[in-house]
Structures are given as structure tokens and as C-alpha cells.
Symmetry: C2
Subunit: 183 residues, 2 copies
DNA sequence: AGGCACATGTAAAAGGTTACATGATTGG
DNA sequence: CCAATCATGTAACCTTTTACATGTGCCT
């Protein structure tokens, strides 16, 4: 019910194919929504059938053809209506934290390893987000950006993602230190 | 598949009923897992059938009877085995951030209001988490706690929750300021 | 009198994950 | 030559959400 809105919001950035979205949901939008290619292809078909997006087939040489989607006026309207609703509280589901909760009754070395890997992952994401930020800012500083740009939404969500990964890294570092002290 | 582990981990704190867990999943464990009462009752039945937890009926006067669950040795074993696996990357799904992403094409006043409500919610959660922290610390400082306690898992996950809500509040404050500057 | 807390469930519908399926091109 | 990238999908299964269902006691 809300993957729909995530896709419509992603298409505000411009038209893209299912494949592009699958990659996009892996980078900047992944901040606040995750989706597999299978989900996306299915939902795109549905949105097209409902007239909220429309497809254009791009024929390519040496590459499979692709269907490129863009918002229709009705799609834009649907998205605007969505912004007037009440968002449901966030559903967080993090298996790593379940493992940490069970740490004292489980395998501390294995959990330590999982935290270490999460830390690496977070560093990678942070790095990618910060590159996207540089592209958005395009040399301007943040205040200037906020005054001049007419697309502040994506920048604000990106900031949330950056802060999240920062906190992830801080927490992983602390947890690793504590675990090492105790072993 | 992993609500199971969240329940087992929650039962490490001691026995509790479905109703207790439903409340618990609303406070401290809600950090990293959300579940409705319906999910919990169903999963508890299944865990009992699988012999990972066992129930004890507590007869009450003036109150409906309740079934109180505790981990069995096999349940503890299952949890320990779980801590040795690889956690899947976190699935975040936040409708508020989808709204913010669509901000520039939607109703800015409505989104502003939604951010404001999220901010209030985050303050409430932070406050509750910090009370739980006080209970866990029981007057000791953090370093002492980490040295002395043999249950550091719940404290570490709680710290993650506190940091998360802190960041939420910071971000909401920033977003509100930017929105107000522009209107 | 009305609403909340206690206490537990069933059933249908929606949403998400995993496995399977295909096939060309590019880079190391 | 092998792996990754481009590009799209189907089908089965599992998980989650939502609506419905019931009944007592306590507090204001």
C-alpha cells in the first residue's frame, strides 16, 4: 500500500525503468524504503494499469529494451493526496539488534563479528550518501541550498539517512569496544 | 521467521504473557522489532507447539486467566544458534520520509504537521527509554554497569534506541526550521 | 454512563521474500 | 573464461496488517 507512494516519490526525480529503480532503491531511497526488483516490477505494472504512471519503451542496441516510467498528472495528484494523510509509525526490524539482545545467552564471538560487518556496511552507505549529497549541493553550502533549491525533500531525507548511518557507526564502535573489554 | 527470535530474546528477561509481550513490544523491544498482539498470540502458540517455550496458566480473580510463557532449554538453544547466523540488512520503511521526499510536489503544511507529530512521538519514546535506562543502571554509571553486569545485551540495544530517537528529534527540528523559513 | 486496562483469540486480505527462468554484453 | 551488469518477469510461500469477536472490572 505504500511501496506505491515510495515509487511515485522516486519518479519525481525523473523517469526511470524498473531496473533503474531497483538500483535506486538500493542507494538513496533505501534510506526509508527497501524493495526487491520483483516487488518493483509487479507494482509498476499495477501503477501503470491504474493510470498513475505511464511507460515508454526505449529500444536499445546491444541491450535488452527497457520500459521507462514517468508520473502522469493523476499520479502526481495521488502523491499529493498521500502527503496529506497520517504516516504510520515506523516499523523497524533489525535482526542484528535481536542478536545483541540475546548476546548474553548466545555466541558472543559470532555476534561481535556480525556487528563488525554491520559497521563496514554502514561506512559504505555513509560514503555513498555523502557523494550523493555533494552532487545535490553542487558546491553550494547547505544554507544556500535550502534558500535556493525548489527540491528540498530529497535533501532532507538524505540528511536523515546520513545521520542514521553515522549513529550506526558510533553504536557499532561502542558495542565492539565493550565486547572486547569483556572477553 | 525472525519474530520468533525476537520473542525468544524478549523471554530472556523472564516469563511473560502474550499481553505483557504486546505491551513490551510497544516499549523497550520496540527499538528493533514491532509486532501486533495478533502476531504475538499466533507465534506464541507455534513456539509452544515446537517446544521452544512452555506455558503455565495463571488463574486470576477479577481478571481473565493468563498464559505465562518461559523459554525451554531447547528454546534457549535455538536462540543461541540464531546468534551464530548472519543477520539480514535492516528493512526500514518510514512513510513520513516518503512524504518528505514528495514534499515539493505535495502539501507542505500537512507534511510539516506530520513531522511535528513525529517529533512529539520521538520525545515520548526517548523519555520512556531513558527511564528504562535508569532502572537498568540502578544508580551505577555506565562504565561500572558494563564491567559488572552479565546482561549487557538489553542495555546495548536500549542505547541504540536512545540514539535513534535523539537523531529523530534533531532531524525533525531541522526539517521544521527549514520548512518555516521557506513559507 | 462511558472509556480504558486486562486478556485472548479467528479469519481474510495485503504485502514481502525466495526460488526459478532467460539471455546478451562488457570487463578483467 | 568467468563474473558482473543490463533487463525483465512468474510462482510459491511466508509474514504482516486489518477487521471482527468477547467479556469483566475499575475509575471518573
Amino acid at each position: 500500500m505504500a511501496l506505491k507512494n515510495a515509487i511515485l516519490a522516486a519518479l519525481l526525480e525523473g523517469e526511470s525503468s524498473g531496473y533503474d529503480l531497483a538500483k535506486g532503491f538500493d542507494s538513496s531511497v533505501a534510506n526509508f524504503w527497501v524493495a526487491t526488483p520483483q516487488q518493483l516490477y509487479k507494482e509498476l505494472d499495477k501503477l501503470e494499469a491504474d493510470g498513475l504512471i505511464e511507460a515508454r519503451v526505449v529500444e536499445q542496441e546491444r541491450r535488452p529494451n527497457k520500459r521507462v516510467f514517468r508520473l502522469t498528472p493523476r499520479g502526481g495528484q495521488a502523491l499529493a493526496t498521500f502527503t496529506e494523510g497520517t504516516p504510520r509509525p515506523t516499523a523497524i526490524r533489525d535482526e542484528l539488534l535481536v542478536m545483541v539482545q540475546a548476546l548474553d545467552a548466545g555466541n558472543a564471538a559470532a555476534v561481535r563479528h556480525a556487528i563488525d560487518e554491520r559497521s563496514t556496511l554502514a561506512r559504505g552507505k555513509l560514503h555513498r550518501y555523502e557523494r550523493i549529497r555533494d552532487v545535490l549541493l553542487d558546491g553550494r553550502d547547505e544554507d544556500t541550498y535550502f534558500e535556493r533549491s525548489d527540491r528540498i525533500g530529497p535533501y532532507l531525507t538524505l540528511l536523515r539517512g546520513i545521520a542514521f548511518e553515522h549513529e550506526n557507526i558510533r553504536w557499532c564502535t561502542l558495542a565492539l569496544r565493550i565486547l572486547d573489554q569483556r572477553s
